[in-house]
Amino acid sequence: MKPLFGRTKTLEQKSADFLDVTIEASQVLLTGISHYLNGATEQFEDDLKQITVLENRGDNLRREIENQLYTETLIPESRGDVLALLENIDNITNQCKQILMELSVEIPVIPPEFHDGYLHLAEKSVKAVEEVVSSTRSFLNFPLMIEHSLNKVYFWESEADRLSETLKRKVFRTAGLELSHKFHLRYFALHIELLADKAEDVADRLAIYSIKRSL
Protein backbone atom coordinates (compact mmCIF):
# COMPACT_ATOMS: atom_id res chain seq x y z
CA MET A 1 0.00 0.00 0.00
CA LYS A 2 1.34 3.47 -0.95
CA PRO A 3 1.89 6.37 1.46
CA LEU A 4 -1.26 8.49 1.64
CA PHE A 5 0.35 11.73 0.48
CA GLY A 6 2.38 10.08 -2.29
CA ARG A 7 4.69 12.69 -3.76
CA THR A 8 3.22 15.72 -2.02
CA LYS A 9 6.29 16.20 0.13
CA THR A 10 5.33 19.51 1.78
CA LEU A 11 2.12 17.96 3.02
CA GLU A 12 3.96 14.94 4.31
CA GLN A 13 6.40 17.23 6.16
CA LYS A 14 3.65 19.38 7.64
CA SER A 15 1.78 16.33 8.86
CA ALA A 16 4.94 14.99 10.47
CA ASP A 17 5.47 18.37 12.17
CA PHE A 18 1.85 18.40 13.35
CA LEU A 19 2.27 14.96 14.94
CA ASP A 20 5.57 16.08 16.53
CA VAL A 21 3.71 18.98 18.14
CA THR A 22 1.21 16.54 19.67
CA ILE A 23 4.00 14.40 21.10
CA GLU A 24 5.83 17.44 22.47
CA ALA A 25 2.64 18.76 24.08
CA SER A 26 2.10 15.44 25.83
CA GLN A 27 5.68 15.47 27.15
CA VAL A 28 5.30 19.04 28.41
CA LEU A 29 2.07 17.99 30.11
CA LEU A 30 3.90 15.26 32.02
CA THR A 31 6.67 17.63 33.08
CA GLY A 32 4.10 20.27 33.99
CA ILE A 33 2.12 17.94 36.24
CA SER A 34 5.33 16.80 37.91
CA HIS A 35 6.40 20.43 38.51
CA TYR A 36 2.95 21.28 39.88
CA LEU A 37 2.98 18.38 42.32
CA ASN A 38 6.48 19.27 43.51
CA GLY A 39 5.47 22.89 44.11
CA ALA A 40 7.89 24.16 41.42
CA THR A 41 5.58 27.03 40.49
CA GLU A 42 7.92 28.96 38.18
CA GLN A 43 8.84 25.91 36.14
CA PHE A 44 5.16 24.95 36.01
CA GLU A 45 4.19 28.36 34.61
CA ASP A 46 6.99 27.99 32.01
CA ASP A 47 5.49 24.63 31.02
CA LEU A 48 2.11 26.29 30.60
CA LYS A 49 3.64 28.97 28.34
CA GLN A 50 5.41 26.30 26.31
CA ILE A 51 2.29 24.21 25.85
CA THR A 52 0.30 27.29 24.80
CA VAL A 53 2.88 27.99 22.07
CA LEU A 54 2.70 24.35 20.96
CA GLU A 55 -1.08 24.43 20.83
CA ASN A 56 -1.03 27.54 18.63
CA ARG A 57 1.56 25.94 16.35
CA GLY A 58 -0.60 22.82 16.09
CA ASP A 59 -3.63 24.93 15.14
CA ASN A 60 -1.65 26.77 12.45
CA LEU A 61 -0.24 23.57 10.99
CA ARG A 62 -3.68 21.94 10.95
CA ARG A 63 -5.16 24.91 9.08
CA GLU A 64 -2.28 24.97 6.60
CA ILE A 65 -2.73 21.25 5.87
CA GLU A 66 -6.49 21.64 5.52
CA ASN A 67 -6.11 24.61 3.14
CA GLN A 68 -3.54 22.78 1.04
CA LEU A 69 -5.73 19.68 0.81
CA TYR A 70 -8.59 21.75 -0.54
CA THR A 71 -6.87 24.40 -2.65
CA GLU A 72 -4.60 21.93 -4.41
CA THR A 73 -7.33 19.27 -4.65
CA LEU A 74 -5.09 16.65 -3.13
CA ILE A 75 -6.21 13.09 -2.26
CA PRO A 76 -9.89 13.96 -2.85
CA GLU A 77 -11.00 10.41 -2.00
CA SER A 78 -9.48 10.51 1.50
CA ARG A 79 -9.65 14.22 2.20
CA GLY A 80 -12.65 14.07 4.53
CA ASP A 81 -11.07 11.28 6.56
CA VAL A 82 -7.75 13.11 6.86
CA LEU A 83 -9.48 16.33 7.94
CA ALA A 84 -11.49 14.56 10.64
CA LEU A 85 -8.35 12.77 11.77
CA LEU A 86 -6.38 16.02 12.09
CA GLU A 87 -9.17 17.67 14.05
CA ASN A 88 -9.36 14.75 16.45
CA ILE A 89 -5.59 14.77 16.95
CA ASP A 90 -5.76 18.50 17.57
CA ASN A 91 -8.24 17.76 20.39
CA ILE A 92 -5.46 15.81 22.12
CA THR A 93 -3.10 18.82 22.10
CA ASN A 94 -5.95 21.05 23.28
CA GLN A 95 -6.69 18.70 26.15
CA CYS A 96 -3.00 18.72 27.22
CA LYS A 97 -3.05 22.51 27.38
CA GLN A 98 -6.44 22.54 29.10
CA ILE A 99 -5.19 20.36 31.95
CA LEU A 100 -2.21 22.62 32.71
CA MET A 101 -4.37 25.72 32.34
CA GLU A 102 -6.92 24.36 34.84
CA LEU A 103 -4.17 23.52 37.33
CA SER A 104 -2.82 27.06 36.96
CA VAL A 105 -6.24 28.71 37.35
CA GLU A 106 -7.75 26.53 40.09
CA ILE A 107 -4.52 25.68 42.01
CA PRO A 108 -6.04 22.52 43.55
CA VAL A 109 -4.55 21.33 46.81
CA ILE A 110 -3.38 17.78 46.08
CA PRO A 111 -2.43 15.87 49.24
CA PRO A 112 0.96 14.09 48.93
CA GLU A 113 -0.61 10.61 49.23
CA PHE A 114 -2.28 11.17 45.83
CA HIS A 115 0.77 12.51 43.97
CA ASP A 116 1.86 9.11 42.64
CA GLY A 117 -1.70 8.35 41.54
CA TYR A 118 -1.91 11.51 39.44
CA LEU A 119 1.57 11.01 37.95
CA HIS A 120 0.92 7.40 37.00
CA LEU A 121 -2.45 8.31 35.52
CA ALA A 122 -0.82 11.05 33.42
CA GLU A 123 1.92 8.64 32.28
CA LYS A 124 -0.63 6.07 31.05
CA SER A 125 -2.69 8.70 29.26
CA VAL A 126 0.46 10.02 27.57
CA LYS A 127 1.37 6.48 26.50
CA ALA A 128 -2.01 6.20 24.79
CA VAL A 129 -1.22 9.48 23.00
CA GLU A 130 2.25 8.27 21.94
CA GLU A 131 0.79 5.07 20.52
CA VAL A 132 -1.97 6.81 18.63
CA VAL A 133 0.52 9.25 17.11
CA SER A 134 2.62 6.29 16.05
CA SER A 135 -0.52 4.66 14.55
CA THR A 136 -1.26 7.84 12.65
CA ARG A 137 2.28 7.92 11.24
CA SER A 138 1.72 4.32 10.11
CA PHE A 139 -1.61 5.24 8.57
CA LEU A 140 0.03 8.02 6.56
CA ASN A 141 3.21 6.19 5.59
CA PHE A 142 3.05 2.44 6.15
CA PRO A 143 -0.53 1.30 6.84
CA LEU A 144 0.32 -2.39 7.24
CA MET A 145 1.72 -1.72 10.71
CA ILE A 146 -1.32 0.04 12.04
CA GLU A 147 -3.25 -2.81 13.64
CA HIS A 148 -0.47 -3.63 16.06
CA SER A 149 -0.12 -0.11 17.40
CA LEU A 150 -3.89 0.47 17.61
CA ASN A 151 -4.13 -2.42 20.00
CA LYS A 152 -1.63 -0.65 22.26
CA VAL A 153 -3.72 2.53 22.29
CA TYR A 154 -6.70 0.55 23.59
CA PHE A 155 -4.50 -1.10 26.19
CA TRP A 156 -3.17 2.20 27.60
CA GLU A 157 -6.60 3.77 27.51
CA SER A 158 -8.03 0.99 29.63
CA GLU A 159 -5.03 1.27 31.98
CA ALA A 160 -5.74 5.00 32.35
CA ASP A 161 -9.39 4.20 33.12
CA ARG A 162 -8.35 1.70 35.74
CA LEU A 163 -5.85 4.01 37.46
CA SER A 164 -8.29 6.90 37.40
CA GLU A 165 -10.94 4.78 39.06
CA THR A 166 -8.48 3.58 41.72
CA LEU A 167 -7.40 7.16 42.40
CA LYS A 168 -10.99 8.40 42.70
CA ARG A 169 -11.91 5.50 44.99
CA LYS A 170 -8.99 6.39 47.24
CA VAL A 171 -9.98 10.06 47.27
CA PHE A 172 -13.60 9.36 48.21
CA ARG A 173 -12.56 6.97 50.97
CA THR A 174 -10.10 9.37 52.60
CA ALA A 175 -11.39 10.56 55.95
CA GLY A 176 -10.83 14.19 56.83
CA LEU A 177 -11.21 15.59 53.31
CA GLU A 178 -14.10 17.96 52.65
CA LEU A 179 -16.60 16.64 50.09
CA SER A 180 -15.93 19.74 47.94
CA HIS A 181 -12.19 18.95 48.05
CA LYS A 182 -12.95 15.39 46.87
CA PHE A 183 -14.92 16.82 43.93
CA HIS A 184 -11.96 18.99 43.01
CA LEU A 185 -9.58 16.04 43.06
CA ARG A 186 -12.03 13.93 41.06
CA TYR A 187 -12.29 16.68 38.45
CA PHE A 188 -8.54 16.64 37.77
CA ALA A 189 -8.36 12.85 37.61
CA LEU A 190 -11.24 12.90 35.13
CA HIS A 191 -9.58 15.47 32.90
CA ILE A 192 -6.27 13.60 32.77
CA GLU A 193 -8.18 10.39 31.98
CA LEU A 194 -10.03 12.24 29.18
CA LEU A 195 -6.72 12.66 27.39
CA ALA A 196 -6.55 8.86 26.91
CA ASP A 197 -10.20 8.87 25.76
CA LYS A 198 -9.33 11.40 23.08
CA ALA A 199 -6.48 9.15 21.93
CA GLU A 200 -8.98 6.28 21.76
CA ASP A 201 -11.34 8.41 19.62
CA VAL A 202 -8.51 8.89 17.12
CA ALA A 203 -7.74 5.14 17.23
CA ASP A 204 -11.38 4.26 16.44
CA ARG A 205 -11.29 6.53 13.40
CA LEU A 206 -7.94 5.14 12.27
CA ALA A 207 -9.26 1.57 12.49
CA ILE A 208 -12.06 2.39 10.06
CA TYR A 209 -9.97 4.56 7.72
CA SER A 210 -7.29 1.91 7.43
CA ILE A 211 -9.88 -0.71 6.44
CA LYS A 212 -11.28 1.71 3.84
CA ARG A 213 -7.79 2.33 2.44
CA SER A 214 -7.04 -1.36 2.20
CA LEU A 215 -10.09 -2.01 -0.02
Partner: protein, 217 residues
Protein backbone atom coordinates in the same frame (compact mmCIF):
# COMPACT_ATOMS: atom_id res chain seq x y z
CA UNK B 1 -40.86 -4.04 3.31
CA UNK B 2 -37.52 -5.78 2.91
CA UNK B 3 -34.87 -5.41 5.58
CA UNK B 4 -31.51 -3.80 4.87
CA UNK B 5 -30.02 -7.04 6.15
CA UNK B 6 -32.00 -9.45 4.03
CA UNK B 7 -28.84 -10.78 2.41
CA UNK B 8 -26.69 -10.87 5.47
CA UNK B 9 -28.13 -12.97 8.23
CA UNK B 10 -24.82 -13.18 10.11
CA UNK B 11 -24.66 -9.41 10.46
CA UNK B 12 -28.29 -9.31 11.58
CA UNK B 13 -27.41 -11.85 14.23
CA UNK B 14 -24.43 -9.83 15.52
CA UNK B 15 -26.55 -6.66 15.69
CA UNK B 16 -29.23 -8.60 17.54
CA UNK B 17 -26.62 -9.77 20.05
CA UNK B 18 -25.46 -6.20 20.55
CA UNK B 19 -29.02 -5.06 21.26
CA UNK B 20 -29.50 -7.98 23.70
CA UNK B 21 -26.34 -6.97 25.49
CA UNK B 22 -27.44 -3.33 25.77
CA UNK B 23 -30.77 -4.53 27.13
CA UNK B 24 -28.94 -6.60 29.77
CA UNK B 25 -26.80 -3.63 30.84
CA UNK B 26 -29.96 -1.57 31.12
CA UNK B 27 -31.78 -4.12 33.30
CA UNK B 28 -28.74 -4.73 35.52
CA UNK B 29 -28.33 -0.98 36.05
CA UNK B 30 -31.86 -0.55 37.36
CA UNK B 31 -31.44 -3.47 39.78
CA UNK B 32 -28.08 -2.09 40.89
CA UNK B 33 -29.55 1.32 41.77
CA UNK B 34 -32.32 -0.36 43.80
CA UNK B 35 -29.68 -2.29 45.75
CA UNK B 36 -27.58 0.83 46.36
CA UNK B 37 -30.58 2.67 47.75
CA UNK B 38 -31.21 -0.27 50.12
CA UNK B 39 -27.52 -0.15 51.19
CA UNK B 40 -26.98 -3.70 49.86
CA UNK B 41 -23.40 -2.99 48.83
CA UNK B 42 -22.35 -6.58 48.13
CA UNK B 43 -25.25 -7.02 45.76
CA UNK B 44 -24.47 -3.66 44.23
CA UNK B 45 -20.82 -4.59 43.62
CA UNK B 46 -21.89 -7.84 41.94
CA UNK B 47 -24.06 -5.86 39.55
CA UNK B 48 -21.16 -3.49 38.84
CA UNK B 49 -18.98 -6.48 37.87
CA UNK B 50 -21.72 -7.71 35.55
CA UNK B 51 -21.99 -4.29 33.89
CA UNK B 52 -18.20 -4.11 33.43
CA UNK B 53 -18.13 -7.54 31.76
CA UNK B 54 -21.06 -6.71 29.52
CA UNK B 55 -19.48 -3.42 28.49
CA UNK B 56 -16.18 -5.06 27.50
CA UNK B 57 -18.09 -7.68 25.52
CA UNK B 58 -20.06 -4.86 23.87
CA UNK B 59 -16.87 -3.10 22.75
CA UNK B 60 -15.64 -6.31 21.11
CA UNK B 61 -18.95 -6.88 19.29
CA UNK B 62 -19.06 -3.22 18.19
CA UNK B 63 -15.56 -3.33 16.70
CA UNK B 64 -16.24 -6.68 15.00
CA UNK B 65 -19.43 -5.34 13.46
CA UNK B 66 -17.74 -2.13 12.27
CA UNK B 67 -14.89 -4.05 10.72
CA UNK B 68 -17.26 -6.52 9.08
CA UNK B 69 -19.33 -3.71 7.60
CA UNK B 70 -16.26 -2.50 5.71
CA UNK B 71 -14.19 -5.58 4.99
CA UNK B 72 -17.03 -7.55 3.49
CA UNK B 73 -18.42 -4.57 1.61
CA UNK B 74 -21.83 -5.15 3.05
CA UNK B 75 -24.83 -2.98 2.32
CA UNK B 76 -22.61 -0.02 1.33
CA UNK B 77 -25.57 2.35 0.95
CA UNK B 78 -26.60 1.88 4.59
CA UNK B 79 -23.17 1.35 6.10
CA UNK B 80 -22.76 4.86 7.53
CA UNK B 81 -26.21 4.81 9.11
CA UNK B 82 -25.66 1.45 10.71
CA UNK B 83 -22.24 2.47 12.04
CA UNK B 84 -23.81 5.55 13.60
CA UNK B 85 -26.59 3.48 15.17
CA UNK B 86 -24.12 1.00 16.66
CA UNK B 87 -21.90 3.74 18.06
CA UNK B 88 -24.85 5.58 19.56
CA UNK B 89 -26.07 2.36 21.16
CA UNK B 90 -22.58 1.88 22.56
CA UNK B 91 -22.84 5.38 24.05
CA UNK B 92 -25.87 4.17 26.05
CA UNK B 93 -23.81 1.28 27.44
CA UNK B 94 -20.90 3.62 28.31
CA UNK B 95 -23.15 6.18 29.97
CA UNK B 96 -24.87 3.47 32.01
CA UNK B 97 -21.58 1.92 33.11
CA UNK B 98 -20.05 5.27 34.03
CA UNK B 99 -23.12 6.25 36.04
CA UNK B 100 -23.20 2.93 37.90
CA UNK B 101 -19.49 3.36 38.65
CA UNK B 102 -20.07 6.85 40.07
CA UNK B 103 -22.09 5.36 42.92
CA UNK B 104 -19.50 2.66 43.50
CA UNK B 105 -16.51 5.04 43.46
CA UNK B 106 -17.98 8.03 45.26
CA UNK B 107 -20.32 6.22 47.69
CA UNK B 108 -22.65 9.22 47.87
CA UNK B 109 -24.71 9.72 50.99
CA UNK B 110 -28.31 9.79 49.71
CA UNK B 111 -30.85 11.14 52.22
CA UNK B 112 -33.62 8.65 52.99
CA UNK B 113 -36.34 10.81 51.47
CA UNK B 114 -34.51 10.95 48.12
CA UNK B 115 -33.79 7.25 47.72
CA UNK B 116 -37.13 6.33 46.15
CA UNK B 117 -36.86 9.38 43.92
CA UNK B 118 -33.54 8.09 42.56
CA UNK B 119 -35.04 4.63 42.01
CA UNK B 120 -37.93 6.24 40.08
CA UNK B 121 -35.48 8.19 37.94
CA UNK B 122 -33.48 5.03 37.18
CA UNK B 123 -36.69 3.19 36.23
CA UNK B 124 -37.79 5.94 33.84
CA UNK B 125 -34.37 5.98 32.16
CA UNK B 126 -34.43 2.19 31.89
CA UNK B 127 -37.84 2.40 30.23
CA UNK B 128 -36.56 5.00 27.75
CA UNK B 129 -33.67 2.70 26.80
CA UNK B 130 -35.98 -0.28 26.56
CA UNK B 131 -38.33 1.58 24.18
CA UNK B 132 -35.50 2.66 21.89
CA UNK B 133 -34.06 -0.86 21.76
CA UNK B 134 -37.47 -2.19 20.69
CA UNK B 135 -37.48 0.39 17.88
CA UNK B 136 -33.90 -0.55 16.89
CA UNK B 137 -34.84 -4.22 16.61
CA UNK B 138 -37.88 -3.42 14.48
CA UNK B 139 -35.77 -1.13 12.27
CA UNK B 140 -34.10 -4.18 10.72
CA UNK B 141 -37.38 -5.83 9.82
CA UNK B 142 -39.81 -3.02 9.26
CA UNK B 143 -38.26 0.47 9.12
CA UNK B 144 -41.64 2.08 8.38
CA UNK B 145 -42.83 1.06 11.89
CA UNK B 146 -40.01 2.91 13.63
CA UNK B 147 -41.74 6.30 13.58
CA UNK B 148 -44.55 5.12 15.88
CA UNK B 149 -42.19 3.28 18.18
CA UNK B 150 -39.85 6.13 19.02
CA UNK B 151 -42.43 8.57 20.39
CA UNK B 152 -42.46 6.76 23.80
CA UNK B 153 -38.68 7.28 23.96
CA UNK B 154 -39.13 11.05 23.72
CA UNK B 155 -41.95 10.92 26.30
CA UNK B 156 -39.80 8.97 28.76
CA UNK B 157 -36.84 11.29 28.20
CA UNK B 158 -39.00 14.30 29.12
CA UNK B 159 -40.28 12.44 32.17
CA UNK B 160 -36.69 11.68 33.21
CA UNK B 161 -35.80 15.39 32.91
CA UNK B 162 -38.76 16.22 35.19
CA UNK B 163 -37.82 13.59 37.73
CA UNK B 164 -34.18 14.72 37.77
CA UNK B 165 -35.31 18.33 38.26
CA UNK B 166 -37.53 17.19 41.15
CA UNK B 167 -34.57 15.51 42.87
CA UNK B 168 -32.38 18.58 42.40
CA UNK B 169 -35.11 20.87 43.79
CA UNK B 170 -35.67 18.66 46.82
CA UNK B 171 -31.93 18.50 47.49
CA UNK B 172 -31.42 22.25 47.21
CA UNK B 173 -34.50 23.04 49.34
CA UNK B 174 -33.24 20.85 52.19
CA UNK B 175 -31.92 23.25 54.79
CA UNK B 176 -30.04 20.54 56.66
CA UNK B 177 -27.78 19.49 53.80
CA UNK B 178 -24.40 21.17 53.25
CA UNK B 179 -23.90 22.79 49.82
CA UNK B 180 -21.31 20.19 48.78
CA UNK B 181 -23.79 17.34 49.39
CA UNK B 182 -26.49 19.18 47.42
CA UNK B 183 -24.01 19.49 44.56
CA UNK B 184 -23.20 15.80 44.81
CA UNK B 185 -26.88 14.87 44.60
CA UNK B 186 -27.37 17.21 41.64
CA UNK B 187 -24.37 15.63 39.89
CA UNK B 188 -25.72 12.10 40.37
CA UNK B 189 -29.26 13.00 39.25
CA UNK B 190 -27.76 14.64 36.16
CA UNK B 191 -25.74 11.54 35.28
CA UNK B 192 -28.66 9.13 35.68
CA UNK B 193 -30.79 11.49 33.57
CA UNK B 194 -28.08 11.44 30.86
CA UNK B 195 -28.90 7.77 30.18
CA UNK B 196 -32.32 8.84 28.88
CA UNK B 197 -30.57 11.53 26.79
CA UNK B 198 -28.43 8.84 25.14
CA UNK B 199 -31.62 6.84 24.42
CA UNK B 200 -33.02 9.99 22.79
CA UNK B 201 -29.86 10.35 20.67
CA UNK B 202 -30.37 6.83 19.37
CA UNK B 203 -34.06 7.54 18.68
CA UNK B 204 -33.05 10.60 16.62
CA UNK B 205 -30.63 8.57 14.53
CA UNK B 206 -33.10 5.72 14.11
CA UNK B 207 -35.76 8.11 12.95
CA UNK B 208 -33.54 9.48 10.15
CA UNK B 209 -32.16 6.07 9.17
CA UNK B 210 -35.70 4.67 8.98
CA UNK B 211 -36.88 7.53 6.75
CA UNK B 212 -33.93 6.89 4.41
CA UNK B 213 -34.73 3.18 4.26
CA UNK B 214 -38.40 3.88 3.60
CA UNK B 215 -37.57 6.28 0.74
CA UNK B 216 -35.16 3.75 -0.83
CA UNK B 217 -37.84 1.10 -0.75
Amino acid sequence: MASIFDEDLALTKICGEFIDLTDDVNLVFCEAIKQYMCCQMNEYDNYIDQIRNLESKGDVIRRQTESRLYTEKLIPESRGDLLGLIETTDDIIDETKNTALLFSVEIPDIPLELRNEFVSLAKICTEAVNEVLVAFRIFFKSPESVKNLIQPVYDKEKLADKQAAKIKRLAFLDKNLPLSQKMHLRYLAHHVDCIADRAEDLADRLSIAAIKQTIKA
